[in-house]
């Protein structure tokens, strides 16, 4: 009997040694969050990704699983972000005729909007006395996760704080786009999608696909171009400004 109890204690570490537990917990949190999201009436202020992250964090804390152990197992999921990013090329192509019709405003807006997206947050945080590490973690907040991590490798900062900023930015951007588009009288799915992608990266793009396929394609484009532009300019800009 005591032997069985001993083995029972080894159960969690053993299961954590395989990716199965990490992937299982992630999926449980995901499906629970979808159910709750539907029950709440699909509110924009509380998207599934936020619910899922909170539930997953609660599960990990409840089971006393170290975040680093979890992350190792969940690498199986994180790896798929690469092919999933490539996959966004398909809606981009399928909606290309819409994009070509708007190429001029797109080319003018994205560099300006991507610059101010980083700048506003940096100026506010800097004025309130945030440290250089915090500033570096906040700067790529509007960029999609795989690119943001690439930028982080160049400019430094905390990866976890960066990922949290990405979550907050994506959720807030989805919410603010909904409010401000109505307030400004913008009802064009193309512009709403573009704004979601530029400001809210992949989370905004998930929201855009909920609105329509056109919004999703424009969001993918906005996300991609904002990512490319920010990755090229941010390291250079921060070095010049003396932040890093």
């Amino acid at each position: 009997m005591t032997e069985l109890a001993e083995r029972f204690q080894q159960l969690l570490p053993h299961l954590l040694g395989t990716p199965a537990l990490a992937v299982l917990l992630t999926l449980i949190a995901y499906f629970l969050s979808l159910g709750i999201f539907r029950r709440l009436g699909q509110p924009a202020w509380c998207p599934p990704v936020l619910l899922a992250a909170v539930l997953l964090a609660a599960l990990l804390m409840l089971l006393a699983i170290d975040y680093r152990d979890y992350q190792q197992g969940a690498d199986w999921l994180t790896f798929l972000l690469g092919p999933a990013t490539v996959a966004l090329g398909v809606p981009l192509y399928q909606q290309f005729h819409h994009i070509r019709a708007l190429w001029r405003p797109i080319l003018i807006t994205i560099p300006l909007a991507a610059t101010v997206a980083a700048l506003y947050a940096l100026v506010i945080a800097w004025a309130l006395g945030a440290s250089g590490e915090v500033l570096a973690s906040l700067a790529p907040k509007s960029v999609t996760a795989p690119i943001a991590i690439g930028i982080n490798e160049q400019i430094g900062g905390s990866v976890s704080l960066l990922m949290g900023s990405l979550l907050a930015t994506g959720v807030l951007a989805s919410l603010f786009v909904e409010w401000l588009a109505r307030w400004l009288g913008v009802s064009d799915d193309r512009l709403i999608g573009l704004t979601l992608g530029i400001n809210g990266h992949a989370i905004g793009t998930v929201r855009a696909f909920e609105i329509s396929a056109i919004a999703g394609a424009f969001s993918s484009l906005g996300m991609g171009l904002t990512g490319v532009f920010t990755a090229l300019l941010l390291p250079f800009a921060l070095t010049t400004l003396g932040v890093i």
């Binding site: 999921l77 900023s165 512009l191």
Partner: protein
């Protein structure tokens, strides 16, 4: 096996993107280079094969699951940034509000009658 064949194509473009990133030292991730190459390839070859469209649709549908492992890290930061949370929160909320407002205003300035144009579709 169309799903796997489509996935194979996506992986090939990802590898190509990664290779270009390394060879030319581009600061952009291989996934984004692969995404741009895939849409360029579709334009040049006149379309996306059904298997690639299928695999891409399936992956995009589970994007949230793929983001979760990284995102959940914010709940495990501990006390490392104590005292800076008001600055962080205000920068995120205020910064995002202002940048969404700027983007929408900028787009509306360039396409003043866009809301009307759409409603006739």
């Amino acid at each position: 096996m169309p799903l796997l064949r489509g996935f194979l194509t996506l992986l090939l473009f990802l590898m190509l993107g990664e290779a270009l990133r390394l060879l030319f030292q581009w600061p952009v991730s291989g996934g984004i280079i692969g995404m741009l190459l895939l849409s360029l390839w579709a334009m040049l070859s006149g379309g996306v094969r059904d298997d690639v469209a299928l695999a891409s649709q399936k992956l995009i549908a589970i994007l949230i699951v793929l983001l979760m492992p990284g995102v959940v890290g914010v709940f495990f930061l501990g006390n490392r940034f104590d005292g800076q949370w008001p600055a962080i929160a205000l920068a995120l909320v205020g910064g995002t509000f202002l940048s969404v407002l700027s983007t929408l205003a900028l787009l509306r300035l360039q396409l003043p009658d866009s809301s009307k144009a759409r409603s006739h579709d």
